[in-house]
């Protein structure tokens, strides 16, 4: 018997009693399983209840709480906001994914479009500018899904500064909403980012900035 067949046979033998009975679908206090959130028999929240304006305020608060830098702007002011963020950072040479809208990029700094740059090459940039797929307000999370305006995973990992443009329509309130939105992209590489890289491995004291970008800056583009 191959290892595969043997492991599967062991599992079937172990479950010869039928396994643990399924949990009652109504274990929680929420709606019945045939209600709006079918498959969620325990009644955890699947949708937030905040107004759109409150939602963006919450995202800003939670991003800031985890030491991300945040700027709010309008579509018309986006390019100027990107420009001032890079100027304040002192960034002179940035990498961008191939699908990022060039109209948001400022003049006067070197912009290199990623075409499969090596890790050492990426290490030499001052930072990276990308879009995002989804943002979760409650947890201060940004999700990248490898779309053309977000690029390969390596470009948002190796440079020490990540400037991420999030649009209001991409913001959801809670995690289940983000998971539902991402279902169609489940086979793409996804990166969930909540603040800059951090560790709590020494006496459980949180230290921001380890191996991933040590600075995460979010530009939130309002309606």
């Amino acid at each position: 018997m191959s290892p595969r067949e043997e492991v599967l046979a062991r599992i079937r033998a172990a479950l010869a009693d039928g396994g643990e009975p399924a949990r009652p679908a109504s274990a929680g206090t929420g709606p019945a399983p045939d209600g709006p959130d079918a498959g969620n028999g325990t009644g955890f929240r699947t949708e937030g209840d905040r107004e759109p304006g409150q939602l963006l305020d919450l995202l800003v608060e939670r991003l800031t709480d985890y030491r991300a830098l945040v700027r709010r702007t309008s579509p018309a002011e986006l390019a100027a906001t990107v420009n001032s963020a890079l100027a304040e950072r002192g960034a002179r040479r940035m990498v961008v994914p191939p699908g990022l809208d060039p109209s948001v990029l400022p003049e006067g700094i070197e912009i290199v479009t990623d075409d499969g740059l090596s890790a050492p090459d990426l290490d030499a940039f001052d930072g990276v500018i990308t879009g995002a797929a989804v943002a979760v307000a409650e947890t201060g999370t940004i999700v990248l899904d490898g779309s053309p305006d977000q690029g390969r995973r390596a470009i948002t990992l190796v440079p020490d500064y990540h400037l991420c443009i999030v649009r209001a329509a991409q913001v959801v309130e809670i995690v289940p909403e983000a998971v539902a939105r991402l279902a169609a992209q489940a086979d793409r590489p996804l990166t969930w980012i909540s603040g800059p890289s951090a560790t709590s491995d020494i006496e459980l004291k949180r230290v921001e900035g380890v191996h991933g970008p040590r600075t995460l800056e979010v530009i939130l583009v309002g309606p």
């Binding site: 191959s2 043997e6 492991v7 599967l8 062991r10 079937r12 033998a13 172990a14 479950l15 009693d17 396994g19 643990e20 399924a22 949990r23 679908a25 274990a27 929680g28 206090t29 498959g39 028999g41 325990t42 955890f44 929240r45 699947t46 985890y66 890790a119 050492p120 290490d123 409650e138 201060g140 995973r153 390596a154 990992l157 190796v158 995690v175 289940p176 998971v179 539902a180 489940a186 086979d187 793409r188 996804l190 990166t191 969930w192 980012i193 909540s194 890289s197 951090a198 560790t199 709590s200 491995d201 020494i202 006496e203 004291k205 230290v207 900035g209 380890v210 191996h211 991933g212 970008p213």
Partner: protein, 490 residues
């Protein structure tokens, strides 16, 4: 029900599921280490407060726990089907799936995959299962150097130490001790390195940076694997995980069979339960999800190694199988009064604390870890915080019974506990004998004159007080009090 009999367990001589000494012996030494106790008390107090704060933010926490429990129950109930589905999806996206019956087989598979790349080095993401199976030692024997990249795992590896916590493997060390390890073991470290956590983290960044950028093979574990989509999920904080999962040409992910979840939608539950329970954050800094191979992005060779190593033996135990629901958050360690005092090393396994006391003996067979089910006061705090509602106290009691049953079945001589229980049974069965025994117990009162407790009984009763104090017997038994108050029954 004894279907677990005969199901192969994790083999001895490989990996880290068995201690070299029984828990009471190891615990006694740990308790004498005042520095260790101070480090642990500080760290567990901090993390308990963080967890409690972020759990309290969610009004539907109990509903999420119930949903997590239901999803894991469903996954285990049809484990064969979900693993086959996972395999099919991973293969459809260009990955290769390997099955390993035990630690030895898993180590062989990984070593030969690394050798096939021609690389002599790998970078590793923190992973419990690779520690469980002793992968680093097996790779070293095959001439391959494994670099741990999680800060705490790096500290443990450089210190030639053992992990002592699921989430924070170096929880037993304080900043001064970590600084000493770095100064001793990192070749190019700045001799002026301070013991500030930020400075130590920076030293680790510099030490690992060139290794990440030149790594050709990465090895990871998995927090979740989604059968429906073939997606693997790794949850981390530092970015070392992203480095290992993204930059190498070849990625080898080793996961226990029980990590599979049925559907994508299950992530809605677990991406809330895990970060809040483990690091006490609303969300951990980085989570990577990938499905097989993505052309032009990340490793172009992906191998998934599914490991049994005693898990099917646990699955066969009707009471014990729920421990396979564990998502390795370590919340139960942080609330456990026993763990807080003795630390992780005393458990002798990579899985310490309450969950380790119910998981390790099931993976190895109870007779090979017989003291762990007793490493608990059964206070139940672990059950209360468990994000998937594993009833750890009930499993502890069940495993104690299994231990007694298996010892009896092996025709061993009855232990002192069995003899004592038989004697107690005879005494309590007779009215006169019981009353006489109670009167006799009063003779023990002088033993506890000073503190109101008896810390050491004379032999052969000394075994009982080796790990416990005994309350001093009352001056008067209830029967005597009743007779004095109400006179002799007519």
């Amino acid at each position: 029900m004894t279907t677990y009999l005969g199901m192969p367990t994790a083999p001895p001589g490989v990996g880290h599921l068995r201690g070299s000494e029984p828990f009471p012996v190891a615990a006694r030494r740990a308790l004498a280490d005042t520095q260790l106790r101070a480090n642990l008390a500080m760290a567990t107090k901090t993390i308990r407060a963080k967890r409690a704060a972020v759990v309290a933010e969610l009004g539907d926490w109990e509903e999420l726990r119930a949903a997590g429990q239901a999803a894991k129950t469903g996954a285990m109930r049809h484990l064969d089907r979900y693993l086959e589905q996972l395999e099919t999806r991973v293969q459809a996206h260009g990955g290769t799936v390997h099955w390993a019956r035990d630690a030895v087989e898993a180590n062989q598979i990984v070593a030969s995959l690394v050798q096939a790349t021609g690389s002599r080095e790998v970078v590793k993401v923190k992973s419990m299962v690779t520690d469980e199976i002793g992968l680093n030692e097996a790779l070293a024997a095959a001439g391959i150097t494994a670099h741990e990249t999680d800060l705490a795992e790096l500290i443990v590896q450089l210190g030639h130490d053992r992990p002592s916590h699921i989430l924070v493997p170096a929880i037993h060390l304080n900043r001064a001790e970590i600084r000493e390890i770095f100064l001793r073991e990192m070749a190019d470290v700045d001799p002026a390195l301070t013991d500030q956590p930020a400075a130590l983290a920076e030293a680790a960044r510099l030490y690992l940076r060139s290794r990440f950028l030149s790594a050709r093979v990465g090895i990871s574990g998995a927090n979740f694997a989604i059968a429906e989509t073939g997606t693997i999920c790794v949850v981390e904080s530092e970015g070392n995980g992203r480095m290992c999962l993204t930059l190498p040409d070849t990625l080898i992910t080793v996961m226990g069979l029980e990590k599979v979840l049925p559907s994508w939608a299950d992530l809605a539950v677990f991406m809330q339960l895990l970060p809040r329970s483990s690091t006490g954050e609303r969300m951990n800094p980085y989570t990577s999800m990938w499905t097989g191979v993505t052309p032009g992005d990340g490793p172009q060779q992906f191998h998934l190694v599914l490991v049994d190593n005693g898990r099917t033996a646990a699955l066969a135990d009707q009471t014990g199988r729920q421990v396979l629901h564990c998502i390795r958050c370590s919340a139960c360690l942080n609330v456990c009064p026993v763990y807080e005092r003795v630390g992780g090393h005393a458990y002798g396994s990579v899985y310490p604390g309450p969950i380790g006391a119910v998981l390790s003996p099931q993976l190895t067979g109870v007779e090979e870890n017989p003291t762990l089910p007793y490493a608990s006061s059964l206070c139940g705090a672990c059950y209360d915080v468990c994000p998937v509602k594993i009833d750890i106290p009930s499993v502890l009691v069940h495993l104690r019974a299994r231990h007694v049953d298996e010892a009896r079945r092996n025709h061993r001589l009855p232990g002192s506990e069995a003899i004592a229980m038989s004697a107690a049974s005879w005494v309590m069965a007779g009215h006169g004998r019981f009353a006489a025994a109670q009167r006799a117990a009063r003779l023990g009162r002088p033993l506890g004159r000073r503190r109101g407790r008896i810390s050491q009984l004379p032999p052969p009763l000394a075994a009982w007080t080796r790990a416990r104090d005994l309350p001093v017997p009352p001056a008067q038994t209830f029967r005597q009090w009743w007779r004095d108050e109400h006179g002799k029954p007519s």
